[in-house]
Symmetry: C2
Subunit: 239 residues, 2 copies
């Protein structure tokens, strides 16, 4: 890094956020969904794009990513992590480097999200032709989500503080796009010990309602990287 | 991302590179090492820092990262990957956002690297107090290297086209900082099948010289992410 004095003109910098949640389609099936914003000016006027904005000189990158999320959806993330910096020279007519974050929003909160003519939620398998290189960015974020759900507690980002094992399994099924055997799934979760029973059961009318679980922070044995160690406990949702 | 027209002033952007290789210390022990550059102007004048430069409007990010590497060391990377974008508001007196790459250089090539009064190679466990947040960046790059060597072919970035199993094991031992049992290591490598025997043996005077191996591209079953799929075969060293 050089001092700012010798930097005359570097490309402008934007921060965008890929925001995933789970939503039911019209047949009541839970699916991955994300909000997109319609562009109201050139280039790519009228196309859908990821929420984002130029980086304000006073905002940290993560703050800017959370702001894009909040201003688009009115929501706060349960999980927020840097995805990648996209900077190909030809990615937009006037070059912009975009530092992209990805975020997870709880499915109950997401039901209350803002929608309008220019902000709409799309199912991840029905994303239209987007502005710039945003289709590639969405594909990469989906790949990261599917990779990371296999070895981290990222699935909890879609759920509330407490949840049943059936709802946790449903998250894995929707993200991975395949059915999982309930018995095998229960054994996997119990051996990994990243969730624990709360002792409560789901309120309802069933004769024997299912147990509720919560995140078990004492058994999260993943080795945190130096950035996470520095910020753990101080950032919203970062894991 | 918004159009460039509405972006008035965003922070300047630099690209820096953490470059790892393996070098022998004065006792002939192989160790992780990286080149640092002495700052010749304020802020942090006289301190060591990562090689880097302001992003030129005509350079892709990866091109800029490879340039920082080449201008510092005269070398080309065997592996080059984006690490993270560092953008805390207070990370430098005049804010600069740094997009950082990490690179691996083969240990034979690294022996020919440029050194000068203001460019020097340090062992990774003897890195001094660096300018800006560069100690954090080095720690994070080391963490990424140690994580990634466990599940990818990244170790090959330190070696030539062909190598013995003993030299491959030595790479793992140096990076992970622990001795590995030769028999277990051989079984691990054979079951993973990411290297294959060349049929040749190491030239030398020994009665029975060890076999040479090479990377086996047909057995690299890692699922490439969408960015790698797009660029595989077109970028130097990226994996």
């Amino acid at each position: 890094m050089s001092s700012a004095r010798e930097i005359t003109v570097t490309p402008p910098l934007a921060v965008s956020t890929v925001i995933f949640t789970l939503r039911e389609n019209e047949r009541g099936e839970l699916k991955l969904a994300l909000p997109l914003v319609r562009r109201i000016r050139s280039p790519h006027e009228g196309k859908w794009a990821l929420p984002g904005a130029p980086l304000d000189a006073m905002d940290d990158l993560q703050t800017a990513a959370a702001s894009a999320l909040y201003s688009t959806t009115g929501l706060e993330p349960r999980y927020l992590e840097q995805l990648y910096a996209f900077g190909q020279v030809d990615r937009s007519p006037e070059r912009v480097v975009s530092i992209v974050y990805w975020a997870l929003v709880g499915k109950d909160e997401a039901a209350a999200a803002i929608e309008s003519e220019n902000v709409r939620w799309f199912f991840a398998d029905e994303v239209p032709d987007l502005a710039f290189d945003h289709n590639l960015i969405v594909d990469y974020a989906l790949w990261r989500l599917r990779s990371k759900i296999e070895y981290s507690r990222v699935a909890l980002g879609f759920l509330g503080e407490t949840f049943t094992l059936a709802s946790l399994r449903e998250v894995y099924e929707v993200v991975l796009g395949k059915r999982l055997d309930p018995g095998n799934f229960r054994r996997m979760v119990e051996s990994a010990s990243i969730v624990e029973p709360t002792g409560e059961r789901l309120a309802g009318t069933r004769h024997r309602p299912p147990q509720l679980y919560r995140y078990n922070p004492t058994r999260d044995l993943t080795d945190p990287d130096p950035l996470t160690r520095r910020t753990r406990g101080t950032t919203r949702g970062a894991a």
